[in-house]
């Protein structure tokens, strides 16, 4: 299915872009710098760190971008407490990219390197973007290839590899003078070692506890497709409502959808307030079970809560303050930004084994998470 989509339907628009007579002037993204501090706290896991993003035009045709991002993780999640010990680790991600204006087309390329003590990942990406229909439509195509190397800190000889291919088609469409929509399709294929080497599944066993643990076993391939549709509607000066919806399906049997609605309001041309609500739900993978009937019960075994049946609700608030930069002649604009996102995860077939009691009768797990991001942005 995905192969047909990737070859025919993704190449078709590409062919079109090559034959369409371009007519509108594209522009490169603005020069800006963002310095952010982020924090996630929920389910016994805290993740904090900085992110620095800089984008700068070096010529009138070429814009370069660089991003430095760090996750400092302290984990005592339910998975860790069930069969391992709390841990701390650090992930560092560095990305570089370039956008080149060629006539009326923007060509993009990027490379990302992510590094932690037991997982390394490299991703190369390419994209093309063009306006058509008198500038009312923007079509973008993207391809990315990723290479992962999975290790294990308890076994330094352990090393596995996985590869990823990503195909993307995006369309942004002006509908009316006040209404813009966009559509995004993304197909992803993985091949290789897709397990988490530390994760375990439980199975029924005699004894006081009623169960034992064994290592999870995931399929070595996964193909997924996701389509999203979103829109923004201009209500009046400084007032916008927006919404989006996405459907998702993959070869592991996970079907998911989510929707989001929000409102943006600008006060006094200095303050930007944004509030939104997001709902997400998914079914479990075919090889997921909270407790298998016996050891090695299936070819593939999974008990990660991320592949179980669950839903989550998010409420998010963002505030931006546009501050004067008159004193600094080299700056055009500056903003201070604060965002808070509260997420409630509720699982339908993942039980809280930390509760104890008869195996398989524990209550279903749920937890809240708070996500904070504070950042300053400069345009120059």
């Amino acid at each position: 299915m995905l192969r047909r989509i990737s070859v025919s339907w993704l190449l078709a628009p590409l062919a079109c872009l090559l034959v369409i007579q371009p007519c509108m002037a594209q522009v490169l993204p603005e020069d800006r710098a963002d310095i952010m501090v982020h924090s996630y706290d929920g389910g016994g896991v805290t993740v904090t760190g900085p992110s620095l993003l800089v984008r700068k035009k070096v010529t009138k045709d070429l814009s370069l971008t660089a991003n430095y991002y760090v996750d400092s993780i302290s984990s005592a999640s339910i998975d860790v407490l069930s069969y391992a010990s709390p841990y701390k680790e650090k992930r560092t991600e560095v990305s570089v990219g370039a956008d080149y204006l060629l006539g009326d087309t923007i060509l993009s390329a990027g490379f990302t390197n992510s590094n932690e003590n037991d997982f390394k990942a490299q991703t190369a990406s390419f994209g093309v973007r063009q306006e058509i229909f008198g500038g009312l439509t923007v079509v973008s195509l993207g391809y990315a290839r990723g290479w992962d190397q999975v290790g294990q800190i308890t076994d330094l000889d352990f090393s596995r590899e996985a590869e990823k291919r990503l195909y993307r088609l995006g369309v942004s469409q002006v509908i009316t003078k006040k209404f813009v929509m966009n559509m995004d399709f993304e197909g992803i294929t993985d091949q290789g070692y897709l397990n988490n080497p530390y994760r375990q599944v439980r199975y029924e066993a005699p004894g006081a506890q009623g169960y034992l643990w064994q290592s999870e076993i995931y399929p070595e391939t996964r193909t997924s497709g996701a389509v999203s549709l979103g829109g923004r509607y201009f209500l009046g000066e400084g007032s916008v409502v927006y919404g989006s919806a996405r459907v998702y399906s993959d070869t592991w049997g996970i079907d998911a959808w989510n929707t989001k609605a929000g409102y943006t309001y600008i006060h006094n041309k200095k303050w930007i307030f944004d509030a939104s609500y997001r709902y997400y739900t998914q079914s479990s993978a075919d090889f997921y079970s909270d407790m298998f009937p016996y050891v090695d019960a299936q070819n593939f075994l999974g008990r990660d809560k991320e592949i179980s049946t669950f839903n989550d609700h998010s409420i998010r608030f963002d505030v931006t303050y546009d501050f004067a930069v008159d004193k600094w002649k080299f700056l055009e604009r500056g903003t201070l930004n604060f965002g808070y996102n509260h997420i409630l995860f509720s699982y339908d077939d993942f039980r809280n084994v930390l509760e104890g009691g008869p195996a398989g009768t524990e209550s279903f797990y749920d937890f809240n998470a708070g996500v904070i991001n504070v950042f300053v942005s400069f345009w120059f």
Binding site: A15, I20, M24, I132, S140, G187, G230, S377
Partner: protein, 75 residues
């Protein structure tokens, strides 16, 4: 062969519909509202990228979570 025909048909269709022959129903001078700060799909890319990462690490679904086509045709 069918794939080639399909490609040529779609290419021909879009060629006909391209800007040289289609009058934009929203003129460039009518797009002021679409070019405002509050109408941008990706007003803060560093923040959106981070939130996508937060969700993708905890949810089974992946992809198509960003602001796809980008831009509003306002340029």
């Amino acid at each position: 062969m069918h794939r080639l025909i399909r490609l040529l048909l779609i290419a021909a269709l879009l060629q006909v519909a391209a800007c040289s022959s289609v009058e934009p129903w929203v003129k460039p001078y009518e797009r002021a509202n679409l070019a405002t700060e509050e109408m941008k799909f990706d007003r803060n890319p560093v923040c959106e990228s981070y939130m996508n990462h937060v969700y993708e690490a905890r949810e089974g679904a992946r992809g198509a979570s960003g602001s796809a086509g980008a831009g509003c045709g306002c340029n």
